[in-house]
Symmetry: C2
Subunit: 316 residues, 2 copies
Amino acid sequence: MREFDLLQHVFAANSGLPGTVIIGPGDDMGAVHVGEAEVLVTVDQIADGVHFRLADTPIAKIGRKAITRNLSDVAAMGALPVGAVAAVCLPRHWGEGHAEALFDALRGAAAAYACPLFGGDIAMWDSPLLISVTILARTGGVPALLRRGARVGDVVCVTGQLGGSLEPCGGRLQHLDFEPRLRVARALACAPNYRPHAMIDISDGLGRDLGHICRASGVAAELDARALPVSPAAIALAQRTGTPAWRHALADGEDYELCFTVGPEAPLPAAIEGVAITKVGVVTAAPTDERRALVSIRTPEDSWQAADSGGWEHTG
Amino acid sequence: MREFDLLQHVFAANSGLPGTVIIGPGDDMGAVHVGEAEVLVTVDQIADGVHFRLADTPIAKIGRKAITRNLSDVAAMGALPVGAVAAVCLPRHWGEGHAEALFDALRGAAAAYACPLFGGDIAMWDSPLLISVTILARTGGVPALLRRGARVGDVVCVTGQLGGSLEPCGGRLQHLDFEPRLRVARALACAPNYRPHAMIDISDGLGRDLGHICRASGVAAELDARALPVSPAAIALAQRTGTPAWRHALADGEDYELCFTVGPEAPLPAAIEGVAITKVGVVTAAPTDERRALVSIRTPEDSWQAADSGGWEHTG
């Protein structure tokens, strides 16, 4: 059973949610009314052996990732972070110094994005390190950007460069060192004439995450492999593995860039807040045959392939 | 290193929190401003082998406890639940039926307390089941009840009966089957003439949790062992172990009742919403000698003993 299938399944009974719930399960964040305010919430967890390897990773980077992964969800909604709480299970053999370093990293990363860590829970146990972070955010006057809303004819865009997030390159590892795209996302959400119709952050791989947009929006999409902004890490990885770099850009996951769709006439700049914006495909009508892929990609050899099922999933 | 010491330590660097944080780490819930609204947040986790034993516990009860434990924190603030999100690590060998039963239980328990489950994250891994729940709440027009605020001369009160939460009794187990004291707490928070000065829920044991109130309030407290409302489970347990029942009531933990302090003249009813209210002690001045206990108890034999360090802590 894959995680996404399971999520779909367990959250299927969504229809019974009361009117205070503005956004239910199935988007990058949920949202509820608290009095007059709309509060966005996301929860995400990282575990040793699944999302990082404690033996190979500095504690400071683990703590940072636990926060920035959730901030990438805040970015996906075009929202503004408000605060974070963390629940942590520490290996019983950890000393105070380790625990302190981890919480310094959590607190520091949160504070760096104006998202104060204001609560938490700690347990000690005989299993691997696990960090679960919940972040609250606010819309700040513009509606949240959802996965649903993509329209036939939209162009599909991504921020930054994709692929090879687990490949060391230039002294960094994208899956640990990425910058959550809060500022780009906010600029997009507030843009008068190129506000996206739908947006998601790329954690499972462009193909699969665009598939989530398509499913939520009732559309399909076609990507152009030659248009993908391939990262230097993906190029290095391709040289090592023999797999074409565009495939890494399509499917590796943990890029934590944004994928969004916007009207074909929208006057999108080439970069926002110093981050490149690249058109990588178009939104098409949903296939009438449900066995057909929602996302297809035109390879450099001009053949078409399904692209929304080859994505990356935590397998550790 | 004990969990509470560790929590104290890692959250010591609280002073740098921005003005949007209304309640920082160290109370039953934190609170932040989201626009004009005050949003209360608590996160709590339960793990197989630490807070329950999967082999002995129906999945439905585990899911319920993950929710009700956090609702007990909402009660401790006198607040109203708004919604919940859950992060779950499932053992990899679990089938879909297990996962479904767990989420049904989480969703059902949350819905039963007007606290819809509106988001979550699922991972599968090779370690024990772990459920982390975050609950949002609102103050609904009355200030949250904090741990600080107890005054010298206050009486110390508890709801319900205490002790033996792990002892099967009358077909139930308090630590799984408890009713979070949301209605009693709300009635107390809204009471015009007996609103508590300080409140906490009893999860670590009355002695230790009253110690948290004392530490936060800069006071001390004296309990009377003969006044403690001892539960039938504590009496049954005492017969088996030979330890006096009042000691179980003082220190067992996981009662999920409320402990609060209120002015000595407050016209407290004997029961609120059908739940007994019992006066068990008084608030005194903080000791000048910091080696002295913050909470002491007068035994049935009229000797005094320290009571805030003998509490229960997860040791599994």
